[in-house]
């Protein structure tokens, strides 16, 4: 089942910047889409409230149904992903794969797809780095592609149309908050803060998949208005009718000359204990890494409200990153069964799409 979450107003998702009462803090936040921990936390808190929780630790009964902390009991989540209402109904959006390069021209963007090139001697050893011809002046396209475009990339084709820039989906709003001195009516010293809020363009929503939830409890989510992210800002939740939501995006892969060459494209951020180097394997994935387009780590932390301390800031592989891998032909079925990699996959992290190169 999929949930559509729409902001009531703007949202605030903080980054790792310290934010303490009594200290001037500036320019915090702006992380979007929010991490799965944030969205799952908001959903579980809402469900816990519907089961009678108000504050403090959850009861045993609530923990049995919703889990606690990293334990999700029987719940499983997917996402969050972005969705935009289009002429043909809701359109799911995916982070543009990082092997897609582009350059602006008069009619939009000229694009190319990177794939492993000839071996180059570098600080990683002799490695097939990702490259392509005629990419002069091109750069990685930060933005989003729709399902059809993602399928084309997974087939090893340059997608038709254009990459949707982030600014067409959401904007950042700078906001200043303060506490006022009662006597002077001026800003109280060290109680001034500034944050970056996110405002979604009309028709853009977050989509989160949820499984393993009791039917009766699920109904509590439909039509709910719940706080999500910082500042107690709200989101409206609606259940999408069956069949709507994230369709499976898969590319058929076949062996060539006894080898299977495939790509893994990250749809959501992934946490790996070790980032594979050339010739190494990705945990749970057959074969070895030949090359990759991997972005700078996305650091995701949070706030542990029960223990009143920050959650450790962990480096996640950013969505859009692409691994070019190779496996033996007889490992094909194992390759085809890969859909999530790394840790915290129950929250929605580590979702990947399979393609060819």
């Amino acid at each position: 089942m999929y949930l559509r979450i729409t902001p009531v107003d703007s949202w605030f998702f903080r980054d790792g910047r310290p934010f303490h009462l009594g200290e001037a803090t500036s320019d915090v936040g702006g992380l979007f889409p929010p991490s799965a921990f944030t969205v799952v936390g908001a959903i579980r808190a809402h469900l816990a409230r519907s089961m009678g929780w108000r504050e403090g630790k959850w009861s045993e009964e609530i923990c049995r149904v919703l889990g606690d902390g990293y334990d999700l009991a029987g719940l499983r989540f997917r996402g969050p992903l972005l969705c935009r209402e289009g002429d043909r109904g809701p359109e799911m959006l995916y982070p543009a794969p990082l092997n897609l390069l582009g350059k602006r021209n008069d009619s939009g963007y000229e694009m190319r797809l990177l794939r492993p090139g000839e071996e180059v001697e570098c600080d990683l050893g002799r490695v097939r780095l990702p490259t392509a011809e005629k990419i002069d002046g091109m750069k990685q396209l930060s933005g989003y592609v729709n399902g059809d475009q993602l399928k084309q990339v997974l087939r090893g084709e340059v997608p038709e149309g254009r990459v949707i820039p982030r600014k067409e989906l959401c904007g950042t709003e700078y906001a200043v908050g303060l506490e006022r001195e009662r006597d002077t009516r001026t800003a109280k010293e060290a109680h001034l803060y500034s944050i970056n809020r996110i405002r979604l363009v009309r028709g853009v929503h977050l989509i989160m998949g949820i499984e393993g939830i009791d039917e009766g409890l699920l109904e509590k989510l439909d039509g709910a208005v719940m706080p999500i992210g910082g500042e107690g800002r709200m989101g409206c939740v609606e259940m999408l009718s069956p069949g709507k939501g994230v369709s499976e995006i898969r590319q058929e892969i076949g062996p060539i000359d006894g080898r299977v060459r495939f790509t893994l494209v990250h749809i959501t951020p992934a946490f790996l204990g070790r980032w594979p180097r050339p010739g190494e394997s990705i945990p749970g994935v057959p074969g070895e890494v030949v090359s990759a387009c991997v972005g700078r780590a996305l650091r995701i932390g949070g706030w542990d409200s029960v223990n009143r301390r920050p959650v450790e800031l962990k480096p996640f592989i950013p969505p859009g990153s692409v691994w070019f891998c190779e496996a033996e032909a007889d490992e094909l079925n194992d390759v085809m069964s890969v859909s999530r990699i790394g840790e915290y996959t129950g929250f929605g992290f580590g979702e990947i799409a399979l393609g060819i190169w």
């Binding site: 780095l129 980032w275 450790e312 800031l313």
Partner: protein
């Protein structure tokens, strides 16, 4: 082995992650200098392995000479070597490995010096401080190199993985995070929400080790930010020569430069110096020696006070301008308050005669366009062109009363007063083009210029400068463009972009600055203009059919055929003037001229590769920028 097979492409990063995350101008300078220094160490190592630096041209570079212990005269003041270079060597991989090792060992030496002087004695009061320190120092830099054609380095940049990572991935950072570089843990190791006192005690001790105002009471830093902050005071031990970080003016000082210049050149000079004497006797640690000499080439007392003492708003706040006997918390004693009032009165008297200083300054970032292609095609001729440009940069910035933070390769970073910043950027773009023309090549440079209130965090200003240069100027508008943004305390006020060609008149004047000057010379005009500028923006928004204006938005008016936009705006302008002036034929004529100018800066002027591709696109922000510049940023 062919010549190409012997080529080394070398980079050190992260640039933005190291330089841009700064709280003070001193951090900004320190970050850019250290990165440049480390790059120089890599170059020196390659030269030691009988290699040769091909791009940039380093012959005669003062910083490299000092690194190679061959320096003469005054030590280098700013970083002049880029974080990326091309070299050649007989054993290129061996030389590149030595260079990477050279960077690591020099960085370690600097880190060790800061550790020994400021942290070692306090470390046992922290929670795993040594472990946090080593984790951060050892895992920070991204040193990449490839052998062969330059395309290899472009390909390498797509795979953000480092051989230096101790755990095979970027570090996990627990606990509270650094107040400057938020991805990293602060080194006390305590969590403020539950161990506040221990954390405060740790940082109080570190502050005691540092002198004066090196660390503020609300600053809790990671190893990297602390190294940047304290590097100047360990430089002699760590790199072999002293650096003078105290000579770096604050953003507030840079904002005040035109006002300071006007005061000190006027009959009020003695009065101003008397005020300074009074301030020095009432407050401690407020003398900023060396700053004035660097900017004005003179040493008046008035030019050497902490810039907060130029603003009555800061003087009214004891936290910004503590005097002798000002308590850390609570009200000031009566005699201290009287002294404060005396200073405020003196300053207001000066304001009455010479006006107020601006709270806005400009941060300028410039970067050559398509440099990768040019270097591939023309190699060492590009080096010569860049070397010639580099020689010109400091002079142009100084001529415009600015402060150069960094100039290496095709990159420039400078702080300037608001009034001269756009002209300075334009002059630098001309110098860049001429340097390449002299080598028989065509090349352009683009600029990101941010006019910021001193209240806006430096980190936000740097991020904005970076983003408007890359995304708005180069990517959206096309190479050879300048993007300008105004950041006020309440957020982004406007954002404007144009090609250089569209920004200047046939007489090579920056049109926006001329329009602003005209407006500021007519006080009635400014009055009228406020309503005119905002009404015009609303009018354009309505005509475009858009619902909401946001800074930098271009209105597409191509569907409104036959619309005489100039006549419309001129009517609005005259309407606004009606309240203060009689509308004579002369007024009509000058209004027509003025609106023509405003329209010319409001229309889309794309860079050369996109010329002719635009429709009837108009950006109201050009007008808002004229309004901002005409007020010289005095009103926040």
């Amino acid at each position: 082995m062919s010549a190409e097979e012997k080529m080394i492409n070398f980079t050190i990063g992260p640039v933005q992650g190291f330089i841009g995350q700064a709280r003070r101008t001193r951090d900004l300078w320190s970050g850019s200098f250290l990165l440049s220094y480390l790059s120089g160490c890599a170059m020196a190592e390659i030269r030691r392995c009988d290699g040769r630096i091909k791009v940039p041209d380093v012959e005669g570079d003062q910083l490299l000479r000092w690194i190679e212990s061959d320096g003469e005269g005054a030590p280098p003041r700013i970083g002049t070597l880029p974080n990326r270079f091309v070299a050649s060597a007989e054993d290129p991989a061996g030389a590149a490995r030595s260079a990477a090792e050279g960077v690591r060992s020099r960085w370690k030496k600097i880190a060790d010096s800061v550790w020994k002087k400021y942290v070692e004695g306090v470390a046992d009061q922290g929670k795993n401080t040594r472990e946090i320190w080593e984790r951060q120092v050892n895992n920070f830099w991204e040193i990449h190199w490839t052998i062969g054609a330059m395309e290899g380095m472009e390909a390498r940049k797509n795979w953000r993985i480092c051989t230096d990572w101790s755990d095979g991935r970027p570090t996990i950072e627990e606990g509270d995070h650094c107040t400057i570089m938020s991805d990293w843990q602060e080194i006390s190791g305590y969590v403020r929400s539950i161990e506040r006192k221990k954390q405060d005690d740790f940082w109080k001790k570190i502050r005691q080790e540092t002198s004066g105002m090196d660390l503020r009471s609300d600053e809790r830093l990671c190893a990297i930010a602390l190294i940047k902050r304290m590097f100047p005071s360990v430089a002699e031990d760590a790199i072999g020569w002293e650096v003078s970080a105290d000579r770096w003016p604050s953003t507030l000082y840079v904002a005040a430069i035109p006002w300071l210049s006007a005061v000190i050149e006027s009959a009020e000079r003695d009065y101003a110096n008397d005020y300074a004497k009074k301030a020095f006797s009432y407050a401690e640690h407020i003398r900023r020696e060396g700053v004035a000499e660097q900017i004005f080439g003179r040493k008046d007392l008035f030019l050497e006070i902490d810039a907060n003492f130029y603003h009555t708003t800061s003087l009214k706040n004891p936290k910004s301008t503590p005097l002798k006997m000002t308590p850390e918390d609570g009200d000031e004693p009566e005699d201290v308050r009287r002294r404060r009032e005396e200073l405020i009165e003196c300053l207001e008297e000066l304001y009455n005669k010479k006006g107020k200083p601006s709270p806005f300054y400009a941060m300028l970032r410039m970067d050559g366009d398509n440099m990768g292609r040019l270097i591939r095609e023309s190699g060492e001729a590009v080096s010569r062109a860049l070397a010639s440009f580099a020689k010109d940069v400091e002079r142009v910035v100084q001529d415009n009363l600015g402060v150069l933070v960094y100039a290496g390769g095709d990159d420039v970073l400078a702080m300037l007063p608001v009034e001269r910043a756009m002209s300075c950027a334009y002059r630098l773009s001309v110098s860049f083009a001429e340097s390449f023309e002299a080598q028989g090549m065509e090349a352009t440079i683009s600029a990101g210029l941010v006019f910021a209130s001193h209240r806006v965090p430096l980190r936000s200003v740097m991020r904005e400068a970076h983003s408007i240069l890359d995304d708005i100027a180069k990517d959206e508008n096309g190479r050879g463009s300048m993007a300008v943004s105004v950041l006020k305390g309440s957020g982004r006020y406007c954002r404007w972009v144009s090609s250089w060609k569209g920004a200047v008149s046939p007489e090579n004047e920056v049109v926006l600055e001329r329009l602003a000057k005209n407006l500021s010379e007519k006080p009635d005009g400014i009055e009228a203009s406020s309503s005119f500028f905002y009404k015009s923006r609303e009018l354009l928004l309505m005509l475009s059919g858009e619902h909401r204006w946001s800074p930098g938005m271009f209105f597409d008016l191509s569907r409104l055929e036959g619309l005489d936009i100039k006549a419309l705006l001129q009517a609005e302008y005259l309407n606004a003037l009606e309240h203060s002036s009689e509308i004579t034929a002369d007024v009509r004529e000058s209004a027509s001229e003025y609106v023509r100018g405003l329209l010319s800066v409001s229309c889309r002027h794309r860079g050369p590769e996109h010329e002719g591709a635009t429709g009837k696109e108009i950006c109201a922000d050009g007008m808002l920028l004229v309004k901002f510049l005409s007020q010289k940023g005095v009103q926040e």
